[in-house]
């Protein structure tokens, strides 16, 4: 019991003015789910590796006279392993439950949420929605991480239900490790840039695929003199994000509906810092290159370009680990995740105008205000869910 780490209770989430109301039982449901996730990842998931080492790999070797040649062979062999089947079924089930539970909360109060957001935005100028915006085809093709309706669906004019669900439920999936405002990634990157480049004084910052701005606001806060533009494809996310920023008293962020692959709204060299956070793996195989081309165009010479992502698959990563990291691609509906992680960041950065010699890559850990001890301590590897990321990027060469 002493060494078992409990996830923080859901009520530790900081509630702001446009946050959905939760009943006692709705909160309890999320407490259960957070604990279920924690148990599945700490007690059941390690069984996958044990079964792999003891049964799956030896059985494969006995038949083929060799070990696995890639992660797809691992996937095929693991699919018959009962321990893996049970873990996979449970993990999928917790994701589906989290969505249904969250949707039940926000949809019953969809009217009030939309009204609260509208009232908060009255007279505010930090939201710019596009007329006739075309949602990128890859976003329409799948509901990322099993979120019905994805980021862009509006169930009625002015709707913010899916954004409110995202805001209030991410805590459950992440086991509370992203902090009370689910902004541990943004806080970490802002602090890292500030500490590493104390002389960097960006005037204009672009956050691409900002969602509802969880990780944008910490950057805006640490650089209060900068003008921050946060773009996304989803109107509900932007609307809710703009109201949330108002509610949290952050005035230097404008939320704009813009396609990252076509940022006509911005002049060449307009920004000194272009940031993406957990965004690239939710794009598409063609779009990603258009996006890097556009980043190159809107980024000023000498400007900073950073991306927070899950680790890439490198030759020194075992096929087993690649397979586990691939899980979310297929079973948590993040289909581009697998392909994207085969790309080499250094190549992508070259498309954004960063010289391979200037390419940089670091690991950052979420800054978690809820329990720094827990965040700093041993974190069980829960492939693709741990609050530890890969940051890559560089400065655009002159």
């Amino acid at each position: 019991m002493m060494s078992y780490q409990l996830p923080p209770v859901w009520t530790k989430l900081q509630r702001h003015e446009v946050f959905p109301e939760f009943s006692h039982d709705e909160r309890a449901r999320y407490n259960f789910l957070a604990n279920l996730n924690r148990f599945v990842s700490t007690a059941i998931a390690p069984g996958n590796k044990i079964a792999f080492d003891k049964r799956v790999e030896p059985a494969f070797r006995a038949v083929h006279g060799r070990s696995f040649a890639d992660r797809h062979e691992v996937a095929a062999a693991m699919s018959n392993e009962p321990i893996y089947q049970c873990w996979g079924a449970l993990r999928r089930s917790t994701m589906e439950m989290r969505q249904q539970n969250g949707r039940a909360v926000v949809l019953r109060q969809a009217q009030q949420l939309a009204e609260k957001v509208k009232a908060r935005l009255a007279g505010a100028a930090n939201l710019v929605l596009a007329k006739d915006f075309v949602v990128p085809p890859y976003l329409r093709h799948v509901d990322n991480h099993l979120m019905p309706g994805s980021y862009h669906t509006e169930y009625f004019a002015g709707d913010v239900a899916n954004a409110a669900n995202y805001d209030s439920g991410l805590f459950v999936t992440s086991g509370g490790m992203l902090g009370s405002l689910t902004d541990g990634g943004g806080k970490a990157i802002a602090a890292w840039v500030k500490a590493s480049y104390p002389d960097f004084k960006p005037r204009r910052i672009l956050d691409i695929g900002c969602g509802l701005g969880h990780n944008t606001l910490p950057i805006a806060q640490l650089y209060p003199d900068a003008e921050v533009i946060a773009i996304d494809a989803g109107a509900p996310m932007l609307r809710y994000g703009a109201a949330r920023a108002q509610a949290l008293g952050i005035g230097n962020v404008t939320f704009m509906q813009t396609d990252a692959a076509d940022m006509q709204a911005f002049a060449n060299g307009h920004f000194d810092w272009v940031q993406t956070t957990m965004f690239l793996h939710e794009t598409g195989g063609r779009a990603i290159h258009k996006i890097f081309k556009e980043i190159n165009r809107v980024l000023a010479v000498g400007g900073l370009n950073l991306h927070i992502e899950q680790p890439q698959y490198t030759p020194d990563m075992s096929f087993y680990e690649q397979f586990m990291r691939d899980w979310d691609a297929y079973y948590n509906a993040e289909p581009y995740w697998g392909h994207m992680h085969d790309l080499q960041p250094v190549d992508l950065m070259q498309e954004a105008g960063v010289d391979p010699a200037d390419f940089m890559q670091v690991g950052v850990k979420a800054v978690n205000d809820l329990d720094q001890k827990k965040a700093d301590g041993q974190v069980t590897e829960d492939y693709g869910r741990s609050p530890i990321w890969n940051v890559f990027g560089g400065w655009k060469k002159g």
């Binding site: 006692h24 039982d25 309890a28 449901r29 407490n31 259960f32 279920l36 699919s79 893996y84 089947q85 049970c86 996979g88 079924a89 449970l90 999928r92 089930s93 917790t94 439950m97 249904q100 539970n101 949707r103 039940a104 949809l107 969809a110 009217q111 939309a114 009204e115 509208k118 935005l121 939201l127 710019v128 929605l129 596009a130 007329k131 006739d132 915006f133 329409r140 093709h141 799948v142 509901d143 099993l146 979120m147 019905p148 309706g149 994805s150 862009h152 669906t153 509006e154 169930y155 009625f156 004019a157 002015g158 709707d159 239900a161 109107a235 609307r239 297929y330 079973y331 509906a333 289909p335």
Partner: protein
Amino acid sequence: MSNQTELSSSHAGGQADHEGIDASGVNDILMAGDKSKGGRPYFFNSAETERVMNIAMAIAAEVAVVRERIDTIERLLQTSGVLRQSDIEAFVPTDEAAEERQLWHARYAARILRIVQQELDAVAHPENNIPMQQIADEINDM
């Protein structure tokens, strides 16, 4: 069910969210369970087993919710001095109350395992296990 597909293409458009907000088309009970896009993977060899597991996990969640609610009530009663939690731990029912409670447990267990009980009955009494089509034909002659 979902009116998601129809509705997803509608776009509020423009900064002018001046249209009235009207969520009356939202069927929260059914839409909470909207399926996400993409085929659902099944991990167990039998999809039926996985279905049952999913139902069981959802019920497990509801038991946890009830447990947390009772805990809230106990703590509120303690705060307001109505009872102490130690009263609950030390509680010994009277013989009569104990029997009522045991009876509840017995009925509860029987409800949960009804299908197993009935499957055993089918094996034990094949004469009561005639296919319904056959019974229909037989009754037709009765």
